[in-house]
């Protein structure tokens, strides 16, 4: 609230619940709310109308409000804020909440609720929002007493951003919003029960240092937790990896935590990771996992995962440790604090590194690297999707613009991860854990709101983009110059790939039938539409797109039959990768057991 409309302390007695909510948001540093109105939240909309400190972005679907807040949060490190009405508003938000839960994104989502005396009566637009969102959030609240309102909002922000971040819902009955009460500032004392450990145990740190120093074949496996810990953690990771001379790989969620152009970077690991990253994981003798959660997309078959390694795992959430994979040295703490302690202990430890073994290990890694597993052949005018992403990367780099990439879900997402390089954290937003098609456009919107002058591009598939295409209207309303770069293969390509490899090429329901004309679609939403039909068009279209200061949809016609390689099929091990045709396959391929996995 601006100082003109902010009630003075003496007047706080007469504030409405809705005003208390806004004041608490302001005090928590909220600058933008992504929301959609409805009966139960009208009092909050009234309070929004009467102030100008907090900006409201009107989305076109509540799911998109949450993804936009995720994009905002991931690109700034702040907590994203969402406001939706009761009933359908809340249920529409659920997919976004679960997405944020799985990817550890801090969100506070305010939901309207019917008045307290009607709760449980099947009232109009009543849903059991706290019941529905309990497993969809890190925590949730139903505010039933006026005197708990301000403290609940403050606590929600604390919970969302502390420890392992995540989404928090506050369900707000309408009588609480219109009732009168008193505002209370954030508490000065510690939370009574939730106090995550951030400083690592010194003994564990010394053990980790000694193991890494004596390692002959070490590898660093860094994940989204490093991004969660703030840009300093990425800088410390880079410093540590360089001073110790270690090879480093990132998960999909961790891209940008280590500079992609650095010679010590092995690329992404996992199902669609590089040969060098996966074989380094498979062959390592000491693994240092920092802020990654041994996801099944990363480990492949568990009993064949890094079989001869001693594992160190640093994570702020003790429940991530020893969940899927047993580790020898668990370290509970914030990634930045862990890395700071490691660097200090590294210098203090008198043991010498086994440099000759490390050099031998690098020779081996360079040999794997020499396979050039991401090579592709662009030998006709038909655009290869990999080539489209590569040119997008090179031309955005050339433009010198600060660039943020979001994605939808599917093959295009994997090609984006493989061929777009990230030098810094917070520049890459993707739905990793839930894999939510429809994430990319609203997320890009949120990023653009936070970074109005940056180049924000959603690398999309033609199927995914239709899942939240209505947000083109939001983009138009707020003049957000978001770019949608569609790799149009006329298929749900990721589904088609699995059907090709696992279901005998029976392409059941995976063809993208009756697609819209994306150029006209962009124009009808007051944006610019462009199409690249062949390699002759590609660079020109990308350059134009970068230059236009308006929303743009670029429809890139790409090779329909291209698959994502390398690929570790579900249920296979890291040394059982499928490589692109023409490259030498290194393993057993798909097993019957693997077919049952997702």
């Amino acid at each position: 609230m601006s100082s003109a409309t902010l009630p003075a302390a003496s007047e706080t007695q007469s504030m409405t619940g809705a005003e208390i909510v806004l004041r608490a948001l302001k005090e928590q540093g909220v600058e933008v709310i992504f929301g959609y109105p409805g009966g139960a939240v009208l009092p909050i909309y009234d309070a929004i109308f009467n102030q100008n400190a907090i900006r409201h972005i009107l989305v076109r679907h509540e799911q998109a409000a949450v993804h936009a807040a995720e994009g905002y949060a991931r690109s700034t490190g702040k907590v994203g804020c969402v406001l939706v009405t009761s009933g359908p508003g809340a249920t529409n938000a659920v997919t976004g909440l679960v997405d944020a839960l799985l990817d550890s994104i801090p969100i506070v989502c305010l939901t309207g609720q019917v008045p307290t005396h009607l709760i449980g009566n099947d009232a109009f637009q009543e849903a059991d929002t706290t019941g529905i969102t309990r497993p969809a959030t890190k925590h949730n609240y139903l505010v039933k007493q006026m005197d708990k309102l301000a403290s609940t909002v403050h606590e929600a922000f604390y919970v969302a951003r502390s420890g392992r971040p995540g989404p928090v819902v506050i369900d707000l009955p309408k009588d609480i919003l219109i009732g009168k009460g008193q505002y209370t500032p954030p508490p000065s004392q510690e939370h009574r029960s939730y106090r995550p450990q951030t400083e690592p145990d010194a003994v564990q740190i010394r053990k980790a240092v000694r193991l890494l120093k004596e390692a002959k074949r070490p590898v660093v496996y860094a994940g989204g937790g490093v991004i969660n810990a703030g840009p300093e953690a990425s800088a410390l990771l880079t410093k540590f990896v360089r001073m110790a001379g270690l090879p480093c790989t990132n998960t999909l969620m961790g891209l940008g935590a280590y500079p992609s152009s650095d010679p010590q970077f092995l690329g992404m690991l996992g199902m669609h990771g590089t040969v060098e990253a996966n074989l380094a994981m498979h062959g390592c003798d000491v693994m240092f996992n920092i802020g990654a959660r041994f996801d099944d997309r990363v480990t492949g078959r568990l009993n064949a995962f890094a079989p001869n390694s001693v594992k160190i795992h640093a994570d702020i959430d003790p429940s991530s440790i020893n969940k899927n994979v047993k580790v020898e040295v668990p370290i509970v703490g914030d990634a930045a604090a862990v890395l700071r302690a490691l660097i200090a202990a590294w210098d203090a430890d008198e043991a010498k590194q086994d440099r000759p073994s490390l050099a031998e290990w690098w020779r081996q890694i360079d040999e794997w690297r020499g396979k050039n597993c991401l090579a592709y052949v662009q030998d006709s005018k038909i655009i290869k999707p990999q080539h489209a992403v590569k040119r997008l990367y090179e031309l955005t780099k050339e433009s010198g613009r600060e660039t943020f990439i979001t994605t939808e879900v599917g093959q295009h997402q994997m090609w984006a991860a493989q061929y777009f390089g990230f030098e810094k954290p917070n520049r890459w937003m993707t739905s990793g854990g839930l894999g939510t098609m429809g994430y990319g456009l609203p997320a890009a919107m949120g990023v653009q709101v936070a970074h109005p002058d940056a180049l924000v591009i959603d690398i999309a598939g033609e199927a995914s983009i239709l899942m939240n295409i209505q947000e083109m209207s939001t983009v138009a309303q707020y003049r957000l110059p978001v770019k949608v770069f569609i790799l149009n293969n006329q298929y749900m390509g990721m589904v088609r790939q699995w059907q090709e490899l696992l279901h005998g090429g029976r392409y059941s329901e995976s063809y993208s039938e009756a697609l819209p004309d994306f150029v006209k679609l962009a124009e009808s939403f007051h944006g610019v539409g462009m199409r690249a039909e062949s390699t002759d068009d590609l660079d020109r279209v990308i350059r134009e797109m970068i230059a236009i200061d308006r929303p743009v949809i670029v429809d890139v016609a790409v090779d329909e039959k291209e698959n994502v390689f390398p690929m570790i099929p579900s249920g296979a091990a890291h040394n059982e990768m499928l490589l692109a045709p023409g490259q030498i396959a290194a393993g057993a391929g798909v097993t019957d057991e693997g077919t049952a996995l997702v």
Binding site: T130, P135, Y194, L302, P318, S319, K323, K326
Partner: protein, 172 residues
């Protein structure tokens, strides 16, 4: 450190101190059902002077790795203050209370009373046709008594589930 290749199950009695607020039990139960953990028994009641804290005792079973997960998952719930694995932490007492209704006449009645006496079950209600026994003890002891009552004329049983506390001076 749990061994993932160790697939042997063990039982664990876990004590959880939580904020006494609405929804907290649903969170704990939802955690168990959502993640596919077993609940063999679960009890809850407020335990402090102001009624602000409740103590949940949950008896579960699983591999060592699963039990460690259960504790870590419980511990990260926002309203949870403390989690203790009483089974692991040393000597502790497990108690359960049961109300057991037995109907019958003649020698069956005599037999029921005689056994109740041997098991230290108290008669808390009696009619000419029936008794209600109250009994506290370990789950096994209750099981044994209830099984003896079955052929005599067991009508119904109501049990509280296990409550547990560590021996000695230490608190949770």
């Amino acid at each position: 450190m749990p061994d993932p290749t160790d697939n042997s199950f063990r039982a664990a009695t876990i004590a959880v101190l939580v904020e006494n607020e609405s929804g907290v039990l649903a969170r704990v139960i939802g955690l168990f059902s959502g993640r596919g953990y077993n609940i063999d028994s679960l009890t809850v009641a407020p335990v402090d002077a102001e009624g602000k804290l409740s103590r949940i005792t949950v008896v579960t079973s699983g591999t060592e790795m699963v039990i460690e997960q259960i504790k870590a998952q419980l511990d990260r719930l926002v309203p949870v203050h403390k989690v203790a694995d009483l089974t692991l932490e040393g000597p502790h007492l497990n108690r359960e209370l049961a109300l057991i209704k037995v109907a019958g006449s003649g020698s069956a009645r005599q037999e029921a009373l005689r056994l109740a006496d041997a098991f230290r079950a108290r008669v808390v209600d009696a009619t000419t046709e029936s008794f209600v026994f109250e009994m506290t003890g370990s789950g096994e002891k209750l099981d044994a008594f209830i099984n003896l009552m079955r052929p005599i004329g067991l009508v119904e049983v109501s049990r509280t589930g296990v409550v547990s506390i560590a021996r000695g001076t230490k608190a949770l």
